[in-house]
Structures are given as C-alpha cells and as structure tokens.
Amino acid sequence: MKKSKPESADTSHTISDETSRSRVELASLLEISQALNRSLELGDILNRLLLVILGRLMISRGLVLLREPSNGLLKPACARGIKPAALPEPVLVQNLPTRFFHIRPSSAQPLPDALVGLMKQRGLVAGLPIVHQDRVLGLVLLGPRLNGDTFGEEEVRFLASLASLAGMSIHNALQVAQIQSVNQQLDFRIQQLRTLFELTQALSSTLNTDQVLKTLTYALMGQFLVNHHAVILFEEAGPLLVRSQGLEARPLLSLLQEGLAECKDGRAQMVRALPAGPLRKALIHAGVEVLLPLFHQERCSGVVLLGGRANGQPYRETDLEFLATLGSQAAISLENARLFSASLEKQRMEEELNVARAIQQRLLPGKIVQPPGYRMAGRNVPTRQVGGDYFDVIPVQGHRIALMVADVSGKGVPAALLMANLQAAFRLIIHEPLSLSEMAGRLNRLIYQNTAIEQFATAFLALLDVAAHTLTYVNAGHNYPLLVQANGRLTLLKSTGTILGLLPEYQFQEATVSLQPQDLLVIYTDGINEAVNDRQEEFGEDRLRKLIQQKAHLPPEQLLAAILNEVNRYAGDLPQADDMTLLIVRREA
C-alpha cells in the first residue's frame, strides 16, 4: 500500500517551524485516518492507533481498553510494552473522563480511583478517551514520554484529533464485530438445529439400543468437543454401564440410580450446580461435568455423563437446553427399542411354545384303535401354554390294549419335557413282560431320578383285555376314573398307590374290574373338573358325574364332545389354567 507522504516543506522558506510542524501533524492525521478507515478489523485499527501515538510521542508503553457494550466493563483490547500477564482484568469504572487526562495530582479533572490505581500499577501516566457521538468507547492509556517531555498543548490537540478519528473507525469496527458475532451465533444455532433434526431422524429410524446410544454419543462428542463420556441405563436388574470412555463410571452406578430416582424431568445439569453430597463429590472426582438424564414419561431410563470439553470451554446454558432436547429424543428411542425387543422376545418364546405344543400333540395318539366289541374316544385340549397332560392307547400282545392318562405337574417347557419322557418310557415299557404294578414302579423311579423334587405326575395306567373283558389298573394318585354300568351304577376307580416321582422306591398295587356290555369307563384329568367360571367356581366332580350319568347312552365320541361342550359353556371364554384330557371306553357287546 502506498503511503501518502507529507508535502515537502521546500515551497516556502518563510514558513515558521510551528506551521511546518502543524503540517506534519496534519499529514500524519490524514495518514492515520486513511489507515484506520481501510480496515474494519478492530485489532488492526487499535494496533495502528497505538503505534502512531507511541511513535509520534516517543512512548514505549500503551494500553487500549474498550468498553463491553453489554455490561460496560473495560477490557484490554490492545497493548504495547505491557506483558500479557500484567494486563488488567475487565473492570467497571464509572465517570470515565471525556478529555485527555494526566494522573499528576494537579490534574484539572478528578479521576476515578479505580482507573488511577490500574494505571499506576502499570506505569501509565496519561489517558485519552475514544469518543464517538458523545459516548466513551474506550481509553488509550499511555506511559511517560521517553524524552522526558510533558504532554503539551500541541500534543494534546494532536491526540484529541486522533481520538476523534479513531472513534468513528472503532465504532464501525465494533458494529461489524457485533454483526459477525451475531452471525456466528446464528450459524451455531442453525448447526445445533441441524444436529437435532438429523439425530431425531436417525434415532427414530432404529430400534436397536446400541445403535441409539452410539448415534447419541457421537453427536454429543462432535457437538461439544468432548471425548470423555459414559452411558448408564437403569434396567430392572439394576444400573448397567453400557458405554464408557475416559470416565471411571463404575463406582458411580448405584449413587446415580439413587440420585436420579427422584428426578422429575430430563433437564441436563451441571455437576457443580448439584446440591452438595456424595453424588456430587463422586461425579466431580470421576471428572464428570454434565449429567443428562434420559427421561421419558415420568421415568428416568438412564443417564449420559459428559466429561470436560477438550477445548477447555465451559458448557453454557444454551448447551444444556440443547442436551435436554437430545436426551429426551434418545429416551423415546430407547423406550421404543426396549418395547420392541421385549415384544420380539415374547414373540420368540411364543413361537418356541408353539413348536413345543405341536411336538407334544404329535406324542399323543392320532387315531384311536377300535378293538372288536369296544368303542373308544380320547382327546387332549391344551391350554394356551404348553401343559403336561398325556394319554395313550396302545395295542399290546394277547388281545390287550394299554391305556394311560397322566397329568404332569407344572406347566410350560419343563412339564412338556417330563410328559415327553413319560410317554417314551411308557411306550417302551408296555411291551416288556411286566405286571402293571411293576411298570408303575419303573415309571415312578424314572421320574424320581430324572426330575427335580417338585416335579411329579399323577397317572392312571390300565390293561384292557378285550377277550376276557377285564380292566386291570394302577391309579397313581390320579383323579378317580368313573365306571358307569348299564343300570346307571357308578363306580370310582380309586387310588392304588401314590403319585409317580414322589418316593424313590414304591410298591404300587393293582386292581381289576370286569366289564359288562354297555359299561362305560371315563378317565379324565383335573383340567375338566377344575375348569372355572367367571366367579372362580369350579366345574366340580359332582357336576361331571351327573353329566356323564345323564349322557351315558351316547357313543364315546359324542359323549366326549358333550362333556367338553358343557365344560366350555361353563367356563365361557375364560382362559383355562390347565390342559383338559378325556379318554372314554365303552364295551359294546
């Protein structure tokens, strides 16, 4: 840049020294004015202003203080000959001088003490207010002149002109700086909104907890320049540390769960603003600066901990607001992910149960054999859950049919497994040359040895000889089957032993009844008589016996359907707790 040169003084020799000095001064004013106005950058302007003054008046030290527009604090903006460490803290000074001043005691204007103190500490002796439209924008403070001269009238006049020139430039630069700062803040807000928008989209597009937390933490780390963080989820089983980097969060878990149990909203909190106590102490010790509860619908499902920002800047109020918005978004996504995974789990279990139920149904006889002179019908109605009922009809050597109805204790998969075990054992054992009581003894041992103490089974085992028309049976603690004779007489086939799987060694007794034409045998499980209605009243054995006596004339299939109909009518749509099994045998001729 070409500098404007002062006109040379050779035009006239008659010009006095004073005039020529004035000319030089004017020239340098012109120069500084151009230089000042060339820039809108505050630092540039102040630097030039200070350099011109120091150079022109031969001063080695100078300090420019500017007033903050927001709070009026005087803040150092530019310095020469003063070490950075010696710069004053921002200070509020009332009644700033409006004209050039000197701190010698004889000064015409009274000076604020704070200002005088500040100057004396740094060897500054004079000051020049920078004024624009009657407002003091700041002060240029100057050290003593190195040549020992005082600030004469001329110098003061020069400085005053300079200050008023500078006032305009500084005012403009401040305006620009302010606009830039507003723009910067706007850009930052836009950036925050963009992050929020993007995150909302990203979070709502996943039902995976890990993915939600990853997205959230990366956004936080990028947005706040923070790398130390931890995420803790408050699960039913207790607090769970799911992500952690650079923070020793493990010792904080239970303190946090206790501390946040009473949290009422998802506001992010500065750790140092927390009430004093063990939680605050532990958090500070671990290096945590911000707590972000993941709060959704009255429930705090977890917390994000943030360490300090890598650039050393503090978190601001607007940061906390932003964090809270992100946190509530993440909490919703986490809740969705949780619900989704719970329903997946449920679905998976139901599918498994369906498979188990299908397997179980296949273990039951498909088509019931119909030996000559007899009619038989059998059915198992499983509950929604997998149950433990088992019945079987197996032809064996010598005109005999093995019958079995059993009810395994418990429900679900354990019961189904035991039922399958019992079925396999019975089908194997039934062809052995053993008496029925011996078979019952073996089944008892098997169940006792293979299962936990609380698992057992009631069973009715029988061998029907369709030639001799006899029924030999063992009743191991099972509901008494009903034998209805043609004349309507009813006999109960009572227990001949205890339930299977209760005692390691047990001697079962067996009994035999003979069957007359039209005799009817009904074997059932307690799902029938214990079916309940909406008043929690059981169907009951009496009602069942009466029903059977009434309908005894029906063929077994129809009788079976009639009983189930009646029980279902009684129970209505109520889901029943237990499997229902019926096996009906009638001697025809």
Binding site: T195, L199, T215
Partner: protein, 122 residues
C-alpha cells in the same frame, strides 16, 4: 439416502483416509468401523483427506473425537486436509481448529508428519 464412502491408502507410512459424500448420523458407524480397523493395525498417523467430503455433522465429528485421545496417547494424530470451505465452516463453528491441525493439501499434511518424525530424530 446420503451416500458416504471412505478409501484407505497408505502414503509414506501414513494412513490416508479419503472421505467422500456425507458423514452424518447414518454413516458415522461405517466410518467408525474404518477408523477402528486402522487403529487395530497399530497405525496412528492418519491424514483425513476431505476434498470429496460434502457434509459433516456432529455425529461425524464425534467419531474423530472418539478416537483422537487414544491415537495421541500412542504418539499419533489425525490431521485434516483439503477441506471444502462449507465443510470447514462446520469444523470451525464447533471449535475443531483449536484441537486439530488443518492443511490446504494432502502433501502438506503428510509433510507435517514427516517433519514431526525428523524433529524427534534430531
């Protein structure tokens, strides 16, 4: 759907990640994997060439924050180069230039690592 790609090459013993497209919450996990792979191979001197990067969001920046500490502890660094002004503005808004070094071109970034190495030797 925003597309993101990253190409990993090695120049003068320094890993160069050439980022392409949009690095945001959707694509950040993919970039994370790439960076993790580099670190798993004990390579800690990394230049991120952003010439083809069109956009970066907080989540994308977060990936750099997530790894930088470990990388520097191991004596390495991530240095950026060839950043488009629009993209650089985002880095600047969030204060990244105070923590990371940016270079106008790839050569400059690579040279800065070589410079470090020769400084250490001398």
């Amino acid at each position: 759907m925003a597309k993101f790609e990253v190409q990993t090459t090695e120049e003068q013993g320094i890993v160069v990640l050439a980022l392409q497209g949009y690095l945001d919450a959707h694509t950040a996990p993919e970039f994370e994997k790439t960076l993790q792979k580099v670190i798993n191979q004990n390579q800690y001197r990394i230049v991120a060439d952003l010439q083809q990067l069109r956009y970066i969001s907080s989540a994308g920046l977060g990936v750099f924050m997530g790894f930088i500490e470990e990388i520097r502890e191991k004596g390495g660094d991530i240095r950026f180069c060839s950043t488009e002004p629009k993209v650089y503005k985002i880095f600047e808004l969030l204060g990244f230039p105070a923590l990371f070094r940016f270079f106008p071109d790839r050569q400059g970034a690579l040279a800065s690592f070589q410079q470090d190495a020769s400084n250490q030797e001398s």
